[in-house]
Amino acid sequence: MLIRQPRPGDSAKIQPSEITAESVYLNRRRLLQAALAAGVAGLGGAWSQPSSANVVPLQYKRNEKYSLSDKPNKYEDITNYNNFYEFGIEKSDPAANSGGFKPSPWSVTVSGECENKGKFTLEDVLKGLPLEERVYRLRCVEAWSMVIPWIGVPLADVLKRYKPTSKAKFVAFKTVMRPAEMPGQHYDVLEWPYAEGLRIDEAMNPLALLVVGLYGKSLPNQNGAPLRLITPWKYGFKGLKSIVEIKFVERQPPTAWNISAPHEYGFYANVNPNVDHPRWSQARERRIGGGLFESRVPTLMFNGYEQEVASLYQGMDLKKNF
């Protein structure tokens, strides 16, 4: 008999049999969409192409060890409720405005304190690394969370290819700068291009994932196609999207939200129910998908990944290093 062990980040014990297979509800959706589209076409309206239309299926293996047993959020919610200010500030903007974004061809510049510098195609970055699926909880700094089946490769495996030197104490990342394809970049709500960074030991932690897909398919534009970062023990804004630059550096690099509001968003941005955002509490979170009358639930230290990452911050004052 197979007994499921609790996994990192687990909160609810849901049997796999309780999970609605994606194909089932996608079929439902397709029927509804077809019906709607027929209706709209009848009115002579143009049915705008959703930007998640050109995703492709991926070959991957599920990593059970790093997958929550929580039920994942609906694909529709994951792809229509996004903070991706490059496409606009409303949650619905990225899905609406990312249709013109071209995630292919793609290349990433690797530079700084490493031996293998250069410009690499996305295919080269991922070459030989098997894609794995991991179901992580994403906790936004705005006090909501989702459960998302990501597909990607461990960040450490990618970084090691470029042979960081002993001077590489941090890794700095940048999102692509394409105002013509990313209308939100016309407004200075944040400093563009979006910059993020990790301490090298954080970046090498097995939980850190370079993501290329979700729900078995390549990333839709609004979720950070074609390559994004996910560090599930940190607030969502650390996981920058559409990465074009990886740089190994000696000093702590500047990061987008920290530049924008240093007293509200720190470099570390670890999920911590005991350290509030200056304007709202981080003690409880709203689980997306719960509906109108679902209560908030307590937020877990390091978003439930305490066992995996707490040692990274031993002896640090997490109230100061928020």
């Binding site: 229509n80 500030i89 949650k91 924008s260 509490s281 409880r284 709203r286 997306i288 109108l292 009358f293």
Partner: protein, 216 residues
């Protein structure tokens, strides 16, 4: 100028329905036959929508007197009370949504939030200040308070500014919309300051005219 009959029997009911639309649309999208259709985070959607309409209604209410003067449309004043009461209702519903749907009456979180988080404190204060205005919006109260009614209802100037401040402080990075509201409020309030100043200049004293009050 429309007749009293038209204002009372046509314009007021029409305005009533118009102001009800945002709320009706929310209720429809929350409990309609298609199930909840308010995006991934319906609670946030309801809360934000109600708050925004509260602020918009406050600004529209504040715009009535200037519009009356600019367009010499005295009848507009008859619509002001309904707009003001609607503003109060939307703000109250916004607050109740936060209290019940968002915080699930979790007092251990709510009370410290009101006390310690400035943007919540400010919003709560604006709601408290709206209560006496709503309570004294009846004809009986207007009669009873006499001239003090007008003084009391000048609180709306402060309330609007608190509301915009609450909104400004709540947004994460993009402050364009709250600043847009602020610009409107400053025009509407600035015009009042300008009018009062003019009244104190001797040469304009003759142009001063009695305020038109909403009729019974």
């Amino acid at each position: 100028m429309p007749s009293t009959f038209v204002v009372r029997r046509v314009m007021k009911p029409a305005l009533f329905l118009l102001c009800l639309l945002p709320l009706a649309s929310l209720v429809w999208r929350a409990f309609g036959i298609a199930g909840t259709d308010l995006g991934a985070n319906p609670v946030e959607k309801i809360q934000d929508t109600l708050g925004q309409w509260g602020l918009r209604m406050l600004l529209i209410t504040l715009a009535i007197t200037p519009l009356r003067d600019w367009f010499s449309a005295a009848w507009l004043i008859q619509l002001r009370r309904m707009l003001g009461v609607y503003a109060f209702c939307y703000v109250l519903l916004h607050f109740l949504t936060w209290l019940i749907l968002d915080q699930d009456l979790y007092w251990a979180g709510i009370l410290p939030d009101i006390a310690r988080r400035p943007f919540i404190t400010i919003g709560f204060l604006a709601l408290l200040l709206l209560i006496p205005l709503a309570v004294t919006s009846t004809n009986g109260m207007m009669r009873r308070l006499g001239r003090r009614w007008k003084t009391l209802h000048r609180l709306i100037y402060l309330i609007v500014l608190l509301g915009i401040w609450h909104y400004y402080w709540q947004v994460k990075a993009d402050v364009r919309e709250p600043l847009f509201y602020l610009a409107i409020a400053l025009v509407l309030l600035g015009w009042r300051v300008w009018k009062v100043r003019r009244r104190f200049l001797p040469s304009h004293r003759s142009s001063d005219r009695p305020e038109l009050r909403e009729e019974a």
